[in-house]
Symmetry: none
DNA sequence: AATGAATGAGCCTTCATTCAT
DNA sequence: AATGAATGAAGGCTCATTCAT
């Protein structure tokens, strides 16, 4: 690996940290440079500027989830009744381990998605597979036939994501203490049970 | 109404707009003053500074939802099977009409809740009532008995909120077009149906 | 006394305090108004502005010493040997009781005396008398004949004034603690003794 | 010498001028930058801000007098009768050539010595020597035995300093024209003569 | 005469960006 | 490729002053 590539990596890593913590506006180029242990000007030479770096950060971070989802391609087709739990587990782990992901995602949404093109070329290999499992579930009567897969996936995502993105205010408004991962797991387990309790 | 009160109102209104659009860091005092049609200094005279104004903005905006929830205090106790839909309707309408609310809420969460004390003295009058309806629903077997009311309310909130806060990226990742309110209503309706479909 | 005159007085008093503490630049019109318990605008109506008020302050404060010196007009002509001590006593008391005087004087000097015209019309009634006492002292051999009265008075003033104006740094550079009036008295007594010790 | 050091010097020089003329409050960062021919931001990069620069200015300027006093370490021990004149000469020259010194000193005193810590680590190498000469003078009967060295040094300092710090008002109150250095020298010579005239 | 409301200029400071070496 | 030095355009805030009532 070339030295310049290592410099790039260091910058990117520091940038992910800074951007995900403070958003584009709040992030400071100086801090990134300092934490990366490089000279500020390198950022401009390598990434063209703060914006360019931000885009690269978005792309890199958003790519991460694709990798995480890969484990789902091998989800057994004949167990649709476990699908929801499996999805929650994967996403929950990912978001907990990668706060930079959901933070940047939120920042992007707040920003109107100016740089959301970074999400463009992200293919989601497991998508098709999961969808077919869901359809199997519909056929089996586990999921209602007239609810689209999109809606289903939306609901799973929402439940997991919201617990992270709104953790702080949830403590105030609902008295939910989600600081410990176990508390989050329990909450989401209850939510799933709430919905797919055997009746 | 005194002239100064009108000025205060104008500032607050402009501040809500600016802060909810850009967050605390991104908001510009000059822009607020300009839009309010007043001299910048008034902000410091009336609110003590950018921070003071921000806190007032938070409090005012966050107070709004309490008012919206008031309609729920008269929710019929004997109809727990309609509770979820009613809650979704109230929250959905509110968030759609008040994007400044969820935006500020999100910004607060991203910011670590430094100013979340603004939420402190906000009582939620309908909370108790809704809770008793939920318990009735549990007794009737509509909701699982071993799922707490908090978890239930969390799930409703998450489903409604996420559609707003992540609208833009949802279009990319799930191909969900939630620009029209009707689309959102439909999505959430499906989610509810997904969960409480009669089986 | 008219009400407007009382307002004037209150403003002046507050202004003396503020100007003497912080100088012209450091003084705040708001603080003066607040302490005077009046509306800021009155300062402009009565004194034309900050500068106008400052000039009035200077004049009023500088007038004070003339009054203090009046006690000296009755200094006994036949006791020139006690003159120095008497002068020191008068000035020392005055400066100790009126820090606003020496502070404003210093500020004026630092400012290049832009407003020193306030000192213009200040006649010093005791001046002539003291001078004649001094001359008597010269004749008696108490003071050297070829030292002008001006120089003599300068030396007395310098010794007393410096202890006030440089009190703080004197503590550091000479280890002199002049916080208590008695300490100052002792210092100046030693100085006089140093100079006119009977030899 | 590095380029940045030269910039530092330019800033410091301009700052000494500006601060000594207008005090901390009255000094303008813009003016300093302009006169130094540099960008304002450099001041914050190099000195941390206005305050940081001010402290550096104090330290640098106050260091000057120590150097000036060094000539006194070689003052002949057997000539105490010339001590006063020698001290006056040294201080008088210094203050005349370095008005920034006494101005900053005065400003510091007026300001309550908030930054007087800059004087902390300033040792005065000649102090001990002068003191021993003074004691010799006491033994010889030139100085009164019961007057402390501190008081003696105070009086010398006061006489020299006051002529500078109050030059402008002295012209008005005593009719002393101290604009020319020779006039000051004459005045102080008279003062010394006044005190240690051979009797 | 008196007050609250408003203004505009200016000040300290920060930050993204570029230049020179 | 890399660094230290430098810049200009804001941004938040304050203050003396004036206006309207």
């Amino acid at each position: 690996m070339k030295k310049s590539d290592r410099t790039r990596e260091r910058i990117l890593k520091a940038a992910i940290r800074e951007f995900s913590r403070n958003g584009f506006n709040g992030a400071r180029v100086d801090i990134i440079a300092q934490r990366a242990g490089i000279n500020k000007e390198r950022i401009y030479a390598y990434f063209g500027g703060k914006s360019g770096l931000y885009k690269k950060v978005l792309f890199k971070v958003f790519s991460g989830i694709v990798e995480s989802e890969e484990s789902l391609v091998s989800f057994p087709v004949d167990r649709p009744e476990c699908l929801s739990q499996a999805l929650v587990d994967v996403y929950l782990d990912f978001l907990t381990e990668h706060p930079e992901f959901w933070r940047l995602l939120i920042f992007e949404n707040l920003d109107g998605g100016k740089n959301a093109e970074a999400l463009r070329c992200m293919s989601r290999p497991s998508f098709e597979h999961i969808q077919s499992v869901y359809r199997k579930g519909c056929a089996k009567g586990i999921f209602p036939a007239d609810v689209s897969f999109k809606s289903y996936l939306y609901s799973i995502t929402a439940l997991v994501f919201f617990a992270h993105s709104n953790r702080i205010t949830l403590a105030r408004t609902l008295g939910l203490d989600l600081n410990k991962p176990s508390a989050m797991k329990k909450l989401l387990h209850e939510c799933l049970y709430l919905y797919w309790t055997p009746r």
